[in-house]
Symmetry: C2
Subunit: 295 residues, 2 copies
């Protein structure tokens, strides 16, 4: 406790230093360093905000309710991290990419392992509801060469904004999910439906916070991808519809400029027939660029 | 949403600005200002810590467990606020005193309204367990004049470190609690027992954090006071035993130098007899100075 003695007792001026020095006996050096930053920033925030006792207890209650909203299938603290931009910042820090490589975005809660392995061109929309869409492109390395044997794992919401796992018994199992493997040309293509924007769960403390902040809970329409290949970093990302009404106000800040795809409306009866689509349909062409692991 | 447009999409560099500008439609100006500080400090912390995805999810789980530990009689987020020095900092900010006035410290969870109104000299220790102690002093204004009609509300743990409300059926109701009103001389005196240090509840996430940080959960021995009088600011404070083994390492940072009282051992059979004490007993002399409300 020598450090506490040296620092003296708690005062408004030295508050963070006293607390940090008290943590100096932590055996885990990383924990000690992390807690030092947390304590310092927390005290800076309190000194800048100067909360009243009533505001402080409101914050305590908000955090308590956020914890108590969590259960097996609802993680309200992740939602809080999402709507404050923390999840995207952690993603950005852990996925800095070399120039030219595709950017990452958040995984989200709806990925399912072991989606069906499908041949190129398969239609992942099993109930044929919504506006038909074909997506194609290439998986490349940063030198522009095709990546063969790349695994593309895709999942998306339907045209009402729901994932299959949110509508069990309404949507078929594994609806709008699939895994595809590229050949020598690095090309991929599959059929789907145009996704729709959807709200994050907003019936809890985080939803109340969003409303108080004058914010809506919506995520703009997107498709999720995890792209992996031997010798490359795995890429977890989305592509977004730039014409979505919420494209500039994603509730979780997942949109990056490079992830805006071009969703073209195609009115071509012959191509539609070949694809077993109705005309007009939607077409997206988007190339992904994978990075080599940093040495 | 013009601000979001102007700020552009989320990047690691502009992360906090994008989130803050998104909150610009909040109707409550105070909430908007508070959230701006929280978001800025949170993003600064994340950028300095650079948490791995695994560390981020550990933090999410810790906060979730902290919320889920709370119930009607346990507030784990207040404990977290306490052990990080936040509670004391909020107290300090809200109770800046003019020079010469007694300092405040945290209220703690064990205050009970409507403790018995007692005459000066009463013994608040109803079960006569522990080492006898007499406490006396004056309640003064900052000019050194006695404050008449001041209400002194006192409560303390027993010689085993437990409050009555923690040992219902073991300690008598209202044991070691009382309310006294000063006369013209501003003097107070009452009899009690020497309090003992005690741990904050440490069987939850906050206790685990303290252990990981190499910290004990103890609060040094103290008596709690709320002092109120017409024309003065109400003072919530403690006095501490400077010889307590944990006096330099209070788990919740409640100790201030000015709140160290002098606990004297008195070996005087005659005075002991007058007080209905055993000799030796403890004697504390401590004056409180109340501040006028700031204009």
């Amino acid at each position: 406790m020598m450090e506490a003695q040296e620092q003296g007792y708690f005062t408004e001026a030295n508050s963070a230093e006293v607390v940090i020095s008290r943590n100096s006996a932590a055996k885990d050096e990383r924990l000690k360093a992390v807690m030092a930053v947390i304590v310092r920033k927390l005290h800076e925030a309190v000194k800048e905000i100067e909360p009243t006792p009533d505001e402080w207890i409101k914050a305590i209650r908000f955090l308590t309710e956020t914890g108590q909203m969590c259960n097996e299938w609802r993680q309200e603290f992740i939602l809080l991290s999402d709507v404050t931009g923390v999840s995207m910042l952690v993603d950005a820090i852990n996925n800095r990419k070399p120039s030219g490589a595709s950017e990452s975005t958040v995984l989200g809660p709806f990925h399912v392992a072991n989606a069906p392995a499908l041949p190129m061109g398969a239609n992942i929309c099993l109930d044929h509801k919504g506006e038909d869409m074909i997506i194609h492109g290439r998986i490349l390395d940063t030198g522009g060469k095709p990546v063969a044997g790349a695994l593309l794992d895709v999942w998306q919401a339907n045209d009402e904004g729901f994932y299959d796992v949110q509508q069990k018994g309404i949507q078929p199992d594994f609806n709008l999910r699939g895994r595809f493997v590229t050949g020598e040309d690095g090309r991929y293509w599959f059929r789907a439906v145009k996704p729709k924007f959807y709200p994050i769960p907003d019936d809890g403390p985080v939803g109340r916070l969003l409303r108080a902040l004058g914010r809506h809970p919506h995520r703009p329409a997107h498709l999720h991808f995890i792209l992996s290949a031997d010798g490359f970093e795995t890429l977890t990302t989305h592509i977004f519809d730039p014409d979505d009404p919420y494209i500039n106000s994603d509730a979780v800040f997942g949109v990056k400029e490079s992830l805006l795809a071009d969703f073209q409306s195609v009115d071509d009866a012959e191509r539609a027939k070949e694809l077993d689509f109705k005309s007009p349909f939607w077409e997206v062409d988007y190339d992904f660029v994978l990075a080599r692991p940093r040495s």
